[in-house]
């Protein structure tokens, strides 16, 4: 018990890291797309917990809303729209999957070696900057909003136009002739 209290952050990190990786593997190995979608939901939610552990509260909540809510409903709708019975006898993977798995393991090894060879300084040297709004310590959501509307106003507007274009594109693509 004392160990859990003393190492709470580390225990939570490893718990959610294992859940995230396990559900991600389940997403790409399940035969039934509905099970994959549920695994994807688990993956998104545990990733929101990982964001919380890095003091990104706003991103964590947006992750739950947009991924856990919007994108997940979109996927579930499409899974129900297409006929799943024809998928039953289909081969799950393409012919190149053994090569892909070998290359993936090599790529993970390469990433680990590269990341381990870099030494970062102590994390979060100025904790107050993550909640700072114009010299006042308010909160993470306020601070992200402050940056979004002051320094990144033009990208923000472009993102809104992008979403409009994507919406029109999706409607046109899915429309019956």
């Amino acid at each position: 018990m004392d160990f859990l209290v003393a190492n709470g952050t580390a225990v939570l990190f490893y718990l959610f890291a294992v859940i995230t990786v396990g559900s991600a593997i389940a997403v790409i190995t399940m035969r039934n797309p509905m099970y994959s979608a549920i695994s994807l939901l688990v993956c998104f939610l545990s990733m929101a917990a990982l964001f919380l552990l890095r003091h990104a509260e706003f991103i964590a909540v947006v992750q739950v809303f947009v991924y856990g809510g919007g994108i997940m409903v979109l996927f579930l709708f499409v899974i129900m729209l297409v006929n799943l019975h024809k998928l039953k006898e289909m081969r799950l993977f393409g012919v190149q999957w053994p090569m892909a798995v070998i290359l993936a393991i090599l790529l993970i090894g390469l990433i680990v070696v590269v990341v381990m060879s870099v030494s970062f300084g102590p994390p979060n040297p100025y904790p107050e900057q993550l909640v700072d709004v114009d010299g006042e310590a308010l909160g993470n959501s306020e601070a992200v909003g402050w940056h979004l509307y002051r320094e990144y106003l033009l990208p923000f507007e472009i993102a809104s136009i992008f979403l409009l274009v994507a919406m029109i594109g999706a409607v046109v693509l899915a429309r019956k002739e």
């Binding site: 190492n7 952050t9 580390a10 990190f13 990786v21 991600a24 997403v27 790409i28 797309p33 994959s36 979608a37 993956c43 990733m47 990982l50 890095r54 003091h55 990104a56 991103i59 947009v66 919007g70 994108i71 979109l74 996927f75 499409v78 729209l81 297409v82 006929n83 024809k86 998928l87 289909m90 081969r91 799950l92 393409g94 190149q96 993936a104 993970i108 990433i111 990341v115 970062f120 300084g121 994390p123 979060n124 040297p125 904790p127 900057q129 601070a143 992200v144 940056h147 979004l148 990144y152 990208p155 992008f162 979403l163 274009v165 919406m167 999706a170 409607v171 046109v172 693509l173 899915a174």
Partner: protein, 101 residues
């Protein structure tokens, strides 16, 4: 025990590679779109980890943009999927051979 940025980078690398394997090997188009979401999410994990490492909120702002792009990508991708299903009555990617040269 403090969790270092390295832990997050390794975790996000593993998730990225899992998503990549899903994109390359699966034949079901829905699963391929889900794998793309996994890859975009692993990038978010990187951005947030570096935002904490540097005490700089720019990474979190970029993560918001990534989420917006992922939402648009999912909408358009699933629209293409529905159009493909109407054409072939299947979502098997190995039947998508119209553009073969």
């Amino acid at each position: 025990m403090e969790i270092a940025t390295t832990h997050y980078l390794v975790l996000s690398g593993i998730l990225f590679v899992i998503g990549l394997v899903g994109i390359v090997t699966r034949r079901n188009m829905i699963i391929v779109l889900m794998s793309i979401e996994l890859v975009l999410n692993s990038v978010n994990l990187n951005l947030v980890a570096f935002s904490y490492q540097m005490s700089d909120l720019t990474g979190q702002v970029m993560a918001v943009f990534t989420i917006a792009v992922a939402a648009g990508e999912a909408a358009v991708g699933l629209g293409i999927l529905v159009a493909f299903y109407r054409l072939h009555s299947s979502i098997d990617l190995e039947q998508a051979t119209e553009l073969r040269g």
